[in-house]
């Protein structure tokens, strides 16, 4: 069942140096209960795409040029600020990369968790606090050492991310947007957080959008994967298919950039540097770095085409 359908989304940023076309003709859907993995390097537009849908990019400098995002038969991009804010509170949860800068340093963790339930569900403070305590326990923060009375700086990185998750799921969202939630964490803590999100996802039955640059993490958590480059979706496939049968040269390059443990396969990497957002592409955005580039690639843009069931690629090859 489609929960959210995005069609031809275009976003640009007007900055002093010119125009950055951050998201270009991006279309995708999120199904109920699935984990959608979004992979791309810095500047590929993966965060902007999802933040913009829920009114979370500053406008200006950002500008949603065109597109539709249908959620429960309403277009999110036409929604009033007030309605969007209510929707974010009730149905969408967010967790971000850096839990220290996304938490308010002068408020107790628990005060920040109850903020939304008190405002949006009209719970009394006492009700909300007892609910928040249950939530914190659920995400693995016990009441030892007065944890429920702590400020963000008293928590470790992993605990802060757990608190963020508690906050995100306080209103049992339909969609959880996880924007590189484990990038700032150590691998053993990362493993804890991934397990926790999987567990909660199954309990609430929410959909998860997991944005990451780490293909290993995506391989473990996603059902379906979108690969983004320079603001374009270059490949989309179910997770098994994508890793077994990557078609786009960029996806292949990414997979060949990771050293494989216990194997002697050499890493290949991708030549060149990530694209400059200010530059306008006529042809394929990846053509400058692609090892199998043809004349056609420089002059015209390949469309995202379905090559088999659920597997789409934008490449002339």
């Amino acid at each position: 069942m489609k929960l959210l359908e995005v069609k031809k989304l275009n976003i640009k940023f007007n900055i002093l140096d010119g125009i950055v076309n951050a998201v270009n003709d991006v279309s995708f859907e999120i199904k109920k209960g699935e984990v959608l993995g979004v992979v791309g390097e810095s500047g590929s537009g993966k965060s902007v795409t999802f933040l913009s849908l829920f009114g979370l990019i500053p406008q200006p400098p950002g500008e949603i040029v065109s597109g539709r995002a249908i959620y429960k038969s309403e277009n999110l991009l036409d929604m009033s600020k007030k309605k969007l804010s209510k929707l974010r509170a009730d149905e969408i949860g967010f967790i971000y990369q850096d839990p220290l800068t996304s938490l308010n340093p002068v408020l107790k963790i628990i005060t920040q968790i109850i903020e939304s339930p008190v405002l949006n569900r009209r719970l009394t403070k006492a009700q909300a606090i007892s609910e928040a305590k249950v939530l914190l326990k659920h995400v693995g923060i016990s009441d030892q050492k007065k944890n429920y009375d702590s400020y963000p700086h008293q928590f470790s990185g992993g605990m802060r991310q757990r608190a963020m998750i508690a906050m995100a799921i306080a209103n049992k969202p339909n969609i959880l947007i996880a924007d590189e939630p484990t990038t700032a964490l150590d691998v053993t803590i990362q493993a804890q957080i991934i397990e926790l999100v999987k567990k909660i996802k199954d309990e609430i039955g929410m959909s998860v959008v997991w944005i990451s640059h780490d293909l290993g993490v995506i391989a473990g958590i996603a059902d379906r994967v979108i690969v983004m480059y320079a603001g374009y979706i270059v490949e989309e496939a179910p997770v098994l298919e994508l890793f077994k049968n990557p078609k786009h040269p960029y996806t292949r390059g990414l997979l060949n950039s990771i050293p494989r443990i216990n194997s002697d396969i050499d890493v290949e990497g991708i030549d060149g540097i990530p694209p400059d957002g200010l530059k306008k592409h006529i042809g394929c955005p990846f053509s400058e770095r692609c090892s199998s580039v043809m004349d056609k690639c420089i002059n015209s843009l390949p469309a995202l085409k379905k090559i088999r069931n659920n597997h789409s690629v934008s490449c002339f090859l």
């Binding site: 390097e41 810095s42 470790s156 990185g157 992993g158 605990m159 150590d186 691998v187 053993t188 803590i189 990362q190 493993a191 804890q192 397990e195 640059h213 780490d214 293909l215 290993g216 993490v217 391989a219 473990g220 997770v239 098994l240 890793f243 390059g253 990414l254 997979l255 060949n256 950039s257 990771i258 050293p259 494989r260 443990i261 216990n262 050499d266 890493v267 290949e268 990497g269 991708i270 030549d271 540097i273 990530p274």
Partner: protein
């Protein structure tokens, strides 16, 4: 392995002092490196892995005399010795260089990149300007940058290119040994691959010895010959790359290896993961006995009573654990 020892570290301790209370003298030093002994052999790459705060960067800096040491000693082949007594620190720094993690803050924004790479030559060599510039241009070619870039400034370069400049700077004085302190963790995946390939190539061509500090085990697998696993200021396990990855003995190493996300969905879902509970303890008050005892899944009483020593299990592999 009959390789020559280049660096020998004995019972090294490096502490960070914290402000002490005027009335109650408490021992609150952060024990970043708390009794480390290891050898680094000529022309090898030793990978040093561990989570943030385990002391791996501090250890790397102490070796280069960039951090005062509390106890212990570091012996270099003919280039001198560092120990905690003042005045006899002698290190020929020309042979020992470092590449930093963040290529954005480790290059002076007011100097042209050519001058940045030239600076070590100014200090250590007495060369004519034209000779220096030729050397800088050669170095640029060596790290895969266009030599015509030498008059540009750091902000004109991407992260990967800046890291290449950092590498050129470290290579300028033809060192024997380079500490690579997380040199790729600030870079995108496709650029990471370029840089580790470059480092591996340079290491072979120039016969360098590298201490490669990283939290990314798959990168360490690619570049290192031997691996040391560090936790809370101690080395828990050290051995050849194959031994550590294919025959890990310490419970922490096992957990660390099982937590690496593998870019293979089938493998990743099939795999039994060891999920550790909790966080790394505060290094001002490490747990009694084994430093890993507070999180260890195989904990026995002895672990919090006595500290296990790093004992060789075979000639390529040493482990610090009571149960091994």
């Amino acid at each position: 392995m009959d390789a020559k020892k280049l660096i020998e570290i004995r019972d090294l301790k490096v502490f960070y002092k914290t402000a002490s209370n005027l009335f109650f003298k408490k021992n609150n030093d952060v024990r970043a490196v708390n009794g480390v002994s290891l050898e680094i052999y000529e022309k090898e790459t030793l990978g040093l892995v561990g989570e943030s705060g385990c002391g791996k960067s501090t250890l790397g800096r102490a070796i280069l005399d960039l951090r005062p040491i509390e106890k212990g000693s570091i012996n270099f082949d003919e280039s001198g010795q560092i120990n905690n007594k003042k005045g006899i620190n002698k290190l020929n720094k020309k042979n020992y260089q470092i590449i930093f993690q963040d290529p954005f803050s480790s290059l002076n924004p007011r100097m042209s990149v050519g001058d940045i790479v030239k600076e070590p030559l100014d200090i250590h060599y007495n060369l004519r300007t034209s000779e220096k510039i030729n050397r800088v241009k050669d170095l640029f070619k060596m790290v895969g940058l266009d030599p015509s870039y030498i008059y540009r400034y750091p902000h004109e370069f991407s992260g990967g290119q800046r890291q290449r400049i950092g590498i050129a700077r470290a290579l300028a004085v033809s060192p024997k040994f380079i500490v690579c302190d997380e040199p790729i963790s600030a870079l995108d995946v496709s650029i990471q691959a370029q840089i580790i390939k470059l480092l591996k190539k340079l290491q072979l061509e120039l016969g360098l010895t590298l201490l490669f500090i990283s939290h990314d085990l798959s990168v360490v697998w690619y570049i290192a010959d031997r691996i040391a696993v560090m936790y809370l200021g101690k080395i828990l396990e050290i051995g050849s790359k194959k031994e550590i990855f294919q025959n890990p003995k310490h419970p922490y190493t096992k957990a660390l290896l099982s937590s690496i996300p593998m870019p293979d969905p089938l493998e990743e879902r099939k795999r039994e993961k060891i999920i550790l509970e909790g966080d790394m303890p505060n290094p001002t008050h490490p747990p009694a006995g084994c430093v890993f005892s507070s999180r260890c899944p195989n904990y026995i009483d002895e672990c919090s009573i006595s500290e296990p020593m790093l004992i060789p299990k075979n000639n390529k592999h040493s482990v610090a654990c009571h149960l091994v």
